[in-house]
């Protein structure tokens, strides 16, 4: 039971959280990116035909842009698209909604883990204003769905230890759904369940029937995924982004081409396998770098400049204090907190490229909880000081918080739309709407997928934007003869291919 006071605070936080997640949702991020339009059109196609854009009946993984996306988010989009139509708001609505709903959910999860209302409330306040959580809530990607399902599942898992049988059922369903929601839980969830059972075996061994119900239901639900992963195309995305494909590793560290040219004198030590292992360690530890945590982790600005980290700068002292408290003092479930962070970073560190805020999202709850613990410790320290020092400490911290929130607001609303517009395919909508307005005046309309200042490195899929903004009939698109190969693609009056611009640069 929650008290009236806690209830009112939570209501206020939901309001604040809702505002930061919903206001201007269709305008910021500045444009729909390729995954968002593809998700939106797949949902539209399911709504109209029960098939995805490629004509597959209610698929368990969506071919989408060739990366075979997990299905839960796209199915969640279907009612949203049905209610709001196919537009920016409907594509982002489920993420924003689940993001807002996470606020009370996380309170109960934090309470379950920390066994303290104070820690839970402070951490929930931090969650409601977390730039990391707000940003992920405002994009029509599958990250937020995955996080939400995982958290509901873990909360139910905790309740299963002491509660009724239906918590076991809920835990198995939501944790299994997390596997169908986004890539990271596919590794995180099974390992987390194993560790959870190991850590709480003393509690669980007396509830074997509930544990059996949980395990069997979980396995039954994920069997199709296992089958598809082993024998189907579900592993495509994992293969595409696996650490062995990392450009820095291949080009600068292992020199993969050179491995075949007489570098086998020490054999196993030169063949790159061990180098890869130590490279993985490097990638794992890089997620604990302050640059990622506090400076530029959210990639809202161009690389090499300043920006926003996955945590605010004002969280540096609380985060350190929270860590110290966890390491030094007894704290409920503290082993689980560290295991959670380790497992949460595992999938992210096994992928290519630099640290990624989306792939490491599963650590967000624990990182925020540690900050929350630190905030409480910080104020406990201040309380033990003389009043003048207490006043100075509180004033300084308050100014830092206000400054940091304003700074984050400016990054979000001014710098991000300018500096990352190209990555979100800014301008494509305008071009597509123009083309649709003038479609009848031409026999053939050619789109060059190479675009922007950074082109040709930015992948562009104008066909998806045409489908999305024209609400192109899915039945027609599924049945239409699409002439094309890798470099040319045609449907209706549209041709997507490179254009020889006669040496003129775009």
């Amino acid at each position: 039971m929650i008290t009236k006071k806690v209830f009112l605070i939570l209501l206020f936080l939901i309001l604040i959280g809702g505002l930061t997640r919903f206001v201007g949702l269709e305008k910021n991020p500045p444009s729909l990116n390729i995954d968002e339009v593809s998700n939106g059109y797949d949902a539209y196609s399911i709504l109209k035909t029960d098939k995805d854009q490629y004509g597959n009946f209610l698929p368990l993984s969506f071919k989408s842009l060739g990366d075979y996306k997990p299905p839960v988010f796209i199915y969640l989009l279907v009612p949203s698209v049905a209610v709001f139509g196919l537009n920016e708001f409907s594509v982002r609505f489920p993420s924003a909604f689940l993001g807002t709903l996470s606020i009370p959910l996380f309170y109960f999860l934090f309470l379950q883990i920390s066994k303290s209302k104070r820690y839970a409330l402070i951490s929930t306040i931090l969650l409601s204003i977390s730039a990391w959580h707000i940003f992920i809530s405002r994009v029509g990607w599958d990250y937020m769905t995955g996080l939400f399902m995982t958290m509901v599942g873990i909360y139910s898992l905790f309740k299963m230890k002491e509660g009724r049988w239906y918590w076991a059922l809920a835990a198995s369903i939501f944790l299994a759904l997390s596997v169908y929601s986004y890539q990271a839980p596919r590794l995180f969830t099974p390992l987390f369940i194993l560790f959870f059972i190991k850590v709480y075996w003393n509690d669980l061994k007396n509830r074997k029937r509930k544990l059996t119900l949980f395990i069997i239901t979980f396995l039954i639900i994920i069997i199709p995924f296992i089958f598809s992963f082993l024998f189907g195309l579900d592993k495509t995305r994992a293969q595409m982004t696996f650490i062995t494909k990392d450009i820095e590793f291949v080009r600068n560290i292992a020199f993969t081409p050179l491995n075949n040219e007489g570098m086998n004198r020490f054999n196993i030590f030169t063949n790159g396998t061990f180098l890869l292992f130590f490279y993985w360690i490097r990638k794992f530890l890089a997620y604990l770098q302050p640059t990622f945590l506090f400076s530029t982790g959210l990639s809202l600005t161009r690389s090499g400049t300043l920006g926003l980290g996955v945590m605010y700068l004002f969280e540096i002292p609380p985060f350190i204090l929270g860590l110290v408290k966890l390491l030094k003092d007894p704290f409920p479930n503290k082993n689980l907190i560290f295991i959670w962070i380790f497992l949460g970073l595992l999938p992210a560190s096994l992928t290519q490229n630099e640290q990624h805020y989306g792939r490491s999202l599963l650590i967000l709850p624990m990182v925020i909880l540690i900050s929350g613990i630190g905030v409480v410790s910080f104020f406990q320290i201040l309380n033990n000081l003389r009043s003048i020092f207490r006043f100075i400490g509180i004033s300084f911290f308050s100014i830092l918080v206000v400054w940091n929130l304003l700074y984050a607001f400016l990054i979000f609303s001014v710098h991000f739309p300018i500096q990352r517009e190209e990555d979100f395919m800014g301008g494509t909508k305008t071009a597509v709407l123009y083309v649709l307005d003038h479609k009848n005046q031409y026999d053939e309309i050619v789109f060059d997928p190479v675009r922007g200042i950074q082109g040709p490195y930015i992948v562009s899929v104008p066909d998806e934007y045409i489908l999305f903004y024209s609400n192109y009939a899915p039945t027609l698109y599924q049945e239409e003869l699409k002439v094309g190969n890798k470099s040319v693609f045609r449907f209706d009056k549209f041709t997507i291919r490179g254009i020889d611009w006669g040496g003129r640069s775009l």
Binding site: F269, F274, I281, P290, L306, L410, V414
Partner: protein, 329 residues
């Protein structure tokens, strides 16, 4: 004249011999693969030559051992000196005749003079003077070059420009200004000096090209355990611990902060910390400690072999590819 025989050496002298031989061998190994690249291709700061590896490789670990033995214990001193001798971080800089290694030598010589050894006052004063002279000759590493970083200036200008064109220009003037940016940049870089990735993974390439880790990853575990020892020594060595923080400053104020070259003057502190940790692990018979010790020992041996093969086969290719375009000062 008395002939020196191995059998006549005492325990300390034997360890000294081992450390020095290891140090020189590893540096010679690195030099073997890097020396073929003509030094004129490198900016004048680094010259792959013999004096650097002999002088630094011989004297620095020796002094680390002597200081460690005097302040902490023989075991901690030996481990720290051994770590210096096998660390790719110090080895690359020694072999390159880095000015930072010279500065470290000055610090170690001067500090040895300050310590209360049972030597004559004249000897100690001479050491302090020598240390001071070495520091003076290598004081370039203390230069405040952070404002030469074009990246920060460009960032500030770009952000200010974007803000002025927006409807939040006034708010931007208060919340975003050059002082705020520089403070933020400073704070983050300061914190980077305290993260494990900096010391135990090649997050920042040594000398701008090497993918060898500054210190082998397996030593992270004893390092963490060793950190606890520092806290218990706080009362005894509080002043020293405070002064240690000053050793970060040259790296912090460098143009490309953080600078692994400048940070090498802090390396003995890391080595002593690991020394504490190794000592603790070896004397704690707890089963988890033994298990962890074995795991990390395997990791250390494995990574040492990987690093040795990498130096032989890949590092020369990296140098050849990059031709030292960016030295990590």
């Amino acid at each position: 004249m008395t002939r020196i025989r191995i059998s006549n050496l005492n325990k300390v002298e034997l360890w000294l011999l081992l450390v020095v031989i290891t140090s020189l061998l590893f540096r010679a190994y690195v030099l073997k693969y890097l020396y073929p690249f003509p030094s004129e291709e490198i900016l004048t700061i680094y010259k792959f030559n013999l004096w650097g590896f002999v002088v630094f490789g011989l004297l620095n670990p020796l002094l680390i051992l002597v200081i460690g033995r005097r302040i902490f214990s023989l075991k901690v001193g030996i481990i720290a000196a051994f770590l210096y001798s096998i660390s790719p971080w110090t080895t690359y800089l020694d072999v390159a005749g880095s000015i930072a290694s010279l500065f470290l030598l000055g610090l170690l010589v001067g500090f040895t003079g300050i310590l209360k050894f049972k030597r004559s006052l004249l000897f100690r004063v001479m050491l302090i003077f020598l240390g001071f002279m070495i520091l003076l000759s290598s004081s370039d590493i203390l230069k405040f070059t952070i404002f030469k970083n074009v990246g920060i200036i460009n960032t500030v200008n770009q952000f200010r420009g974007e803000m002025n064109d927006s409807s939040y220009a006034l708010l931007g003037k208060i919340v975003e200004n050059r002082y705020v940016y520089i403070l933020q940049y400073f704070s983050i870089n300061f914190l980077r000096h305290f993260t494990p990735a900096t010391y135990f993974t090649p997050e920042n390439k040594i000398m701008g090209f090497s993918f060898s880790p500054p210190i082998l990853f397996g030593f992270l575990f004893p390092f963490i355990i060793g950190l606890k020892s520092w806290f218990s020594l706080w009362k005894k060595y509080g002043l020293i611990l405070f002064l240690i923080f000053l050793l970060f400053i040259p790296s912090l104020v460098s143009e490309n902060s953080l600078s692994m070259s400048r940070l090498v003057i802090f390396s003995p502190v890391i080595f002593y910390t690991i020394g504490f940790g190794v000592d603790k692990i070896l004397t704690t018979p707890h089963k988890y400690m033994v298990l962890l010790k074995n795991i990390f020992l395997v990791l250390i041996i494995l990574q040492a072999l990987v690093v040795l093969s990498d130096i032989a086969f890949r590092e020369p290719v990296r140098i050849d590819m990059l031709r030292f375009p960016m030295l990590n000062r």
